[in-house]
């Protein structure tokens, strides 16, 4: 059986001159590139704010009219290892800023922080005005650091997640996420209302 399969291989080889060498090298090169962790610093890259409200970057001769800014550890280390990626669907990584506070200039940091604020939108609940529960759904009326808000969550597991012992993440029906940074800082009546979910 394996003999037959080999013959087919041989058949294709005849038509084309040494495709294997070419392919293998190229594949190896690509995989090597994926491994590479390129650090971006103020020395090798220049960022500029575009008129459209985004950020462009020039690094070692490569020009990117728009880049996307991602956090690698949004919860535990928000200013470290900021990944700068291409703006299309594939979002290939161009490079990484190891420490946003140290490795780039103040203006660049402000620009990138603006982009990060755009990308990561998690309102932090400052005050719980009311929680009403009805037939398996809970209706929240809260005050967040982005303004007043009302949302509905599905009671029954999954909607309220403990990121840590005091930090909660609440996901509503639409997929919006709200954060309670420190549960212990809430007032007693608020805690009582929240009791059902803790």
């Amino acid at each position: 059986m394996s003999g037959k399969v080999k013959k087919t291989l041989a058949g294709t080889e005849k038509d084309h001159a040494d495709p294997e060498e070419f392919d293998l090298e190229k594949m190896e090169k690509e995989t090597e590139e994926m491994l590479r962790l390129r650090f971006i610093t103020k020395e090798n890259a220049v960022f500029e704010r575009t008129e459209g409200g985004f950020v462009s970057m020039e690094i070692e001769g490569e020009i990117y009219p728009r880049v996307q800014v991602y956090r690698s550890f949004p919860f535990t280390d928000p200013d470290a290892y900021i990944s700068i990626r291409e703006p299309d669907e594939k979002a290939k990584e161009i490079g990484v800023i190891k420490n946003l506070r140290k490795d780039v200039s103040k203006e660049t940091r402000q620009m990138l922080e603006e982009q990060l604020r755009l990308r990561y939108f998690t309102p932090k609940i400052e005050k719980i005005i009311n929680i009403k529960d009805e037939y398996g759904f809970a209706y929240f009326d809260v005050l967040t650091d982005h303004g007043a808000c009302r949302f509905t969550i599905h009671m029954g597991g999954g909607s309220v997640v403990n990121l840590s012992d005091t930090r909660l993440m609440i996901t509503d029906l639409d997929g919006n996420r709200f954060e309670i940074v420190d549960v212990t800082k809430l007032s007693a009546p608020e805690l009582k209302k929240l009791d059902l979910f803790l």
Binding site: E134, Y139, H146, T152, L173, G175, R177
Partner: protein, 738 residues
């Protein structure tokens, strides 16, 4: 999903629309420039222009033809709308919104791009709203809001479900009425006995016996009546439930695939089993009992009023208090039980995790930690449970006491009346008997609102399925067409969600008998093309022609009966091998089946199994190897003698012998039939007449194997990469062998 919101008048005036320029899409966005939440503005699309309002002003306005790109980009927990004008070389962000509007705005953006391309086909937003747009309540997975619909609509729906059982329901009332009358009569008879015989001491032992005898007879009659009534309720409930379940099952089979795939996997099952059970419970426990209670209460109060108005009033005066107390506590009780449920759920999850992951726990030596965690959860649960039970144990007697406090006043007033000669002892006894009869039903009635609401929700979910119209139905004059095998894709575009196209502008002409191999990286749309050919979904744009007819014009059942399908995941039903192969053609003879098996290279291994063709293959055909299941699936497809064959190859590699046998079987199967194959094996690729390479939502290359290899394009890369892998594998095997 709503895509045309009502634009406030002063904003509409700002737009200064021309005559005949209608608003096609209008969706709000809710994050303002400074990041604050709230109704920030609207995105308005007309056939010619795109507007964005912010607050009370017009923030942006463009003619659609000026815009190269209108795109909704999802970010983390929010999204932005960006546009790119032709005359500028940068993208511009123009609106920002939360997840609540993300899907809506994606549709609107797609709609705007379509209008710009002068495509006037409206965007079909099939997704459902999560909350009711009118009252803000969460929708339980239905299209319409149970609360907003109004009582009348709900009652109509309920009536539609039960109207076939009119006679049964009537009997239900008669039974209830009968038992109630019996119940109400007994105290009357007692009074008669007490007053006329015991009191006056004018009776004989005979009379006492008569009394006891009659009472016994009445009680037995009552018991029999109750049994009959309950039996009838239960049987009616069960039959009704079965009827609804059957209707739902049929409906689900009729409905299009998108209805099923749009929902969470267990949800439809829940609707068929649990929601129908809720209705059953309602009928059994609630509906009939409700009428018994009402009749009893009305009857009792009527008789009591006819006897003594003051005392009647006194006995009911405490009831409102009880009602208030139990309503006040209802929330508390609900919270307590919910908390208990949450804790018990945590314990269950933890148990499940640890027991199924026991291997990991042991290998990392974490038994102690897990034990401690579990101990704590158990303690919390026990504490909550204890508190709840104590609470309930304390509350219930108190409530019962308060409720029946009226009886003491009744006895006091009644006692005075008897002593004063205005009332006989028997009457007093009768009266207090009726008063007691009130309290039971009233207490039960406090549960009623909750049960009714639960029932209404289940009712909505059931009617949602029953009322749904299947998307893909036979047109009025559907053609019963004998497929010859010419298939043509004409400018076809399709997306499971209309704003995210999986296939764009596909043009392909396939002659009858041709074998087409579909190639491409995973997720590029190969399975989608096959779904469209199988008419499981309908194209969003363009036409799919079978022998020159639009596929939507053909009779669906007839079309499907001429298709043959061999899928990646071989799904065999629980049944015998014989039944599984016969599935394609139930009236096939045994010889036909053996022929089909032989062609599929399956006959030999089937005969080797202990029961031959009668071997039972359990759920998903567990007892067979992957290669054997594939061959049974091929036999099934061959038996059908399909005109159009769909082949979705398994990617997992099997042992070489199975590979060869399957390869041969497939060759026999595809000979002379128009075949669409998602090909992974080189052998299949070689065998194909033409290969179609899909890349980035459209067809990148078309041609024979040799033509495409010469092109050195995407196909070339795919094939050489695979050859490389194979060569490396073989070299390794040889090295190991040596």
């Amino acid at each position: 999903m709503e895509l045309l919101f009502e634009l406030p008048r002063q904003l509409k005036e700002l737009l200064r629309l021309d005559r005949g320029e209608d608003i096609k899409y209008c969706v709000p966005y809710d994050i303002a420039e400074d990041g604050s939440l709230g109704e920030a503005g609207y995105i308005v699309v007309t056939p010619r222009r795109l507007f964005i309002t912010a607050g009370n002003q017009l923030a942006y306005e463009w003619k659609l033809e000026e815009l190269e790109k209108i795109k909704c980009e999802p970010l983390v927990n929010n999204g932005i709308l960006l546009v790119k004008e032709y005359k500028q070389d940068y993208e511009k962000r123009v609106a920002r919104f939360t997840m609540h509007h993300l899907t809506r705005i994606s549709f609107a953006a797609k709609g705007a791009e379509r209008l710009r391309d002068k495509n006037y086909r409206p965007v079909n937003a099939k997704e459902r709203e999560k909350t009711c747009l009118k009252c803000g309540r969460a929708l339980p997975g239905t299209k319409k809001c149970p609360k907003c619909d109004g009582r009348l609509v709900t009652v109509t729906k309920f009536w539609n479900l039960v109207k076939d059982y009119k006679l049964g329901l009537l009997l239900m009332f008669l039974f209830s009425g009968g038992t109630t009358i019996l119940n109400l009569y007994i105290p009357e008879y007692q009074k008669h006995y007490v007053d006329n015989i015991l009191k006056t001491k004018s009776g004989t032992a005979q009379d006492v016996l008569t009394f006891v005898g009659v009472m016994l007879a009445l009680t037995i009659a009552l018991v029999i009546a109750e049994v009959l009534k309950n039996w009838w309720f239960v049987s009616l409930g069960a039959r009704l439930c079965m009827d609804i379940r059957r209707k739902m099952y049929h409906k689900i089979q009729e409905l299009s695939l998108s209805f099923i795939t749009d929902k969470r996997p267990g949800e439809l099952m829940n609707r068929v089993s649990q929601d129908t059970r809720m209705i059953q419970r309602f009928m059994q426990e609630c509906f009939g009992h409700m009428f018994s209670c009402i009749i009893t209460m009305v009857g009792a109060i009527a008789i009591m009023l006819s006897m003594n108005v003051t005392m009647t009033l006194v006995s009911v005066v405490f009831l409102p208090i009880v009602f208030i107390i139990s309503t006040a506590f209802r929330k508390n009780i609900h919270k307590r039980f919910h908390l208990q449920w949450v804790k018990s759920d945590k314990i269950n999850s933890s148990l499940q995790d640890v027991i199924s992951g026991m291997r990991v726990v042991k290998s990392f030596g974490k038994e102690q930690e897990e034990s401690e965690k579990f101990d704590q959860l158990s303690e919390e649960f026990a504490a909550v449970q204890q508190r709840n039970e104590i609470f309930w144990a304390s509350l219930y007697p108190v409530l019962t006491f308060v409720m029946s406090m009226g009886i003491y006043f009744v006895l006091y007033l009644g006692g005075r009346n008897v002593l004063g000669g205005e009332m006989t002892v028997g009457t007093l006894m009768q009266f207090s008997a009726y008063a007691w009869m009130l309290y039971g039903p009233l207490g039960w009635m406090t549960h009623l609102p909750r049960m009714i609401t639960q029932m209404v929700t289940s009712l909505e979910r059931i009617c949602d399925v029953l009322d749904e119209e299947p998307l893909i139905i036979n047109k009025e004059n559907a053609i019963d067409h004998e497929i010859k095998g010419d298939v043509e894709f004409k400018n076809v575009s399709f997306g499971y969600r209309s704003y995210e196209p999986v296939l764009e502008k596909i043009d392909l002409k396939v002659k009858r008998g041709e074998m087409i191999g579909l190639v491409g990286a995973s997720g590029t749309g190969k399975s989608t093309m096959i779904n469209l050919i199988m008419h499981l979904y309908e194209v969003d744009d363009g036409e799919l022609l079978i022998d020159g007819h639009n596929i939507n014009d053909l009779n669906i059942e007839k079309y499907h009966s001429q298709l043959g399908v061999v899928l990646q995941e071989t799904f065999l039903f629980s049944g015998t091998i014989y039944n599984n192969i016969r599935f394609a053609k139930p009236d096939a003879t045994e010889e036909e089946i053996i022929h089909a098996s032989k062609m599929a290279n399956a006959h030999d291994f089937i005969c080797k199994t202990p029961d031959g063709y009668n071997t039972y293959v359990g759920e998903h055909g567990h007892n067979l190897s992957g290669g054997e299941r594939q061959r049974i699936a091929i036999a099934r497809a061959i038996l059908n003698d399909p005109k159009l064959l769909i082949l979705d190859e398994a990617t997992s590699s099997l042992d070489t012998e199975s590979e060869y046998l399957i390869q041969k079987a497939l060759e026999r199967l595809t000979k002379g039939r128009t075949t669409f194959a998602i090909a992974h094996r080189l052998s299949t690729l070689h065998g194909a007449d033409r290969l179609v390479v899909i890349d980035g939502h459209s067809i990148a290359e078309v041609g024979t194997h040799n033509e495409l290899m010469e092109k050195k394009g995407i196909y070339y890369k795919l094939v050489t990469a695979q050859l490389q892998m194979q060569k490396l594998k073989e070299e390794k095997e040889e090295a190991l062998g040596a």
